[in-house]
Symmetry: C2
Subunit: 349 residues, 2 copies
């Protein structure tokens, strides 16, 4: 929220690579973490892992015009969103996020205030989960703004949750609600008024999604789940990944797929089908879980009690490697595992 000084330097080109690195360094939280042996500013960051834990590592490259549009997402929102997307991957393993490295490619004209606000957002989102930036790298770029965050984390060895162990008969569950992110993005693209309560809610779900880190930890600690993945490519797309790696299929019940009131309302306003948004929209960053049918209610209850987040059963795992959707009229249709493809153009999810 701080305004840039009206005196020079104003853009990243004014400051140069090393000036920008120094500026970023002074804006990071310091001295908070006894695990850090060498902080940002040396050749590499060095830290002590927790003895006995498995280390986790993931990265996500976000490209302007494909993953975000600077005309309707603020720098602070983009910072929070870029961190959240990676935190969500750590959450999908039941992990505890620890440290992040942030690589930026920025056009020379990028305002320094924009970079400052990006880090305000990154620090804010990481700080919610006691994680911190320990390293990074900046470069110029000709046209596109690119943010690549690598997120590290830890998990107990016995609690590592992959996509590969769903079994026929398992229940399929999902945290929170689906479809809001796509409807929020469409609302932004259409220039709808963010001050409206329902519009503001779906836009918030798109611009600053909530990574389900505490929910993922709670799920892993129950040791009831057989597989877990976060919903980044859409329910159908991510279920497709899970089914493929587990060698199973799935039957979903359309009426049980959780969609919130704001999403239903704004989808209607936009003439969009909220069920399609939930199935294929993606970027909701909810967690998709499988667990033995008999443990489904216990898992949902435990997560609800520990985090306040609803967990809803939406279908079951089957042996045949197909995905089907049971509609409210009793008919069935095949569910294509298509999601969002980042080699496609924006607007064609």
């Amino acid at each position: 929220m701080a305004k840039a000084s009206t005196t020079a330097p104003k853009t990243v080109a004014d400051l140069g690579e090393f000036g920008l690195i120094e500026r970023i360094r002074t804006r990071l939280p310091v001295g908070l973490d006894s695990r850090i042996v060498v902080p940002i500013g040396d050749d590499v960051a060095a830290f002590k892992p927790t003895p006995g834990k498995v280390q986790l590592a993931t990265c996500d490259i976000q490209v302007e015009g494909r993953h975000f549009d600077l005309s309707y997402i603020s720098a602070q929102e983009l910072g929070r969103r870029s961190a959240a997307i990676n935190l969500s991957d750590i959450a999908a393993m039941g992990g505890h996020p620890t440290f992040a490295l942030v690589s930026l490619a920025l056009p020379e004209t990028t305002p320094l205030d924009w970079v400052d606000q990006l880090y305000v957002g990154i620090n804010e989102e990481l700080g919610r989960f006691e994680a911190a930036v320990v390293g990074g790298n900046v470069s110029g770029s000709d046209r596109e703004t690119i943010i690549d965050i690598t997120m590290l984390g830890e998990v107990e060895e016995g609690q590592v949750l992959t996509r590969g162990h769903a079994r026929p008969g398992d229940a399929v569950l999902v945290t929170g609600t689906l479809g809001a992110s796509l409807i929020g993005r469409l609302a932004l693209e259409q220039g709808l008024d963010r001050d409206d309560d329902a519009i503001g809610r779906v836009v918030h779900r798109h611009a600053t999604p909530t990574p389900r880190v505490h929910e993922g930890q709670a799920i892993a600690e129950t040791r009831l789940a057989t597989a877990m993945i976060d919903v980044s490519d859409g329910l159908a797309g991510d279920l497709g990944h899970l089914c493929e790696q587990s060698g199973v299929g799935v039957e979903l019940v359309a009426a049980q797929i959780p969609i919130d009131d704001a999403t239903l309302k704004i989808a209607a306003l936009l003439g969009e089908d909220p069920l399609e948004a939930a199935l294929h929209g993606g970027e909701d960053y909810e967690l998709l879980i499988t667990c033995p049918q008999a443990q489904s209610a216990a898992l949902a209850r435990t997560v609800g009690e520990r985090t306040g987040t609803a967990v809803t059963e939406i279908g079951r795992v089957v042996a045949e490697p197909d995905m089907t959707l049971l509609l409210t009229d009793g008919s069935r249709r095949s569910l294509e595992p298509r999601g969002w493809d980042h080699f496609s153009r924006p607007g064609k999810p």
Copy 2:
């Protein structure tokens, strides 16, 4: 060196994001590493760190037109180079590289064969040091090819070598020779014939630099060094970083700065000053070390015996925070800590 099939798909757009990820996955070495708990292909990679070791993490974003030019670097060379740059940072801490995450932003027209060869290069360079790719991410981009590698590593806690502990009276040493990378880049830009022996040697130093990983480990294990950094921004630029963080200055002896015969020869051919290339060219990825004067010869001898790489004393650390260069005629000049700035245009080092 393999040619792409003449049947479709030919470009990354033909295959799409998930097809490309699957193709990359099948081209990575598998089953080689008992430390990996979850390999590439899940939400995150998971691995077991070596008990008691400090973990290292670094990243480097390489942008087409700034860090490399696809018209004169092959995909395999670029893969090796991108890995080498990060390995060099791990080397500068005296570390052992472990795992890499590779983020790519690629224009839709990028040939699949090009991506395959990029990974051949990455795998080749990492494999030399028993490191491996465990994760990554791909996206389209409008115009520029961007490669961001995050490299993880490990080091004994007592052997962590930072930039911040050089002391007045210390000797300044450097591995190998300097200036070759800039002269090699200029030779490529001028379209000189790579088949010529001397040209081939400087081009090789630019296109596929050798990270001094074994040398860095040997230096750390002597426990004689007080500070270490790799020469990415140029001798003067990186000495500047080291002096600033150690709160010291430095006196270099121009005649002692090691420059190899091929660099001298091709610099003369290009009308360039090889000393300037050594001081400010950068991207040589040699290691710059400080150690107590009395231990300088022992350190150089140990590294030479263990790795075959020459280590040369080039000056000494002084208390006053200035950098000076002693010329062969006995005069002195101030040494500007300027190096390569990636917000500058190529061709203006």
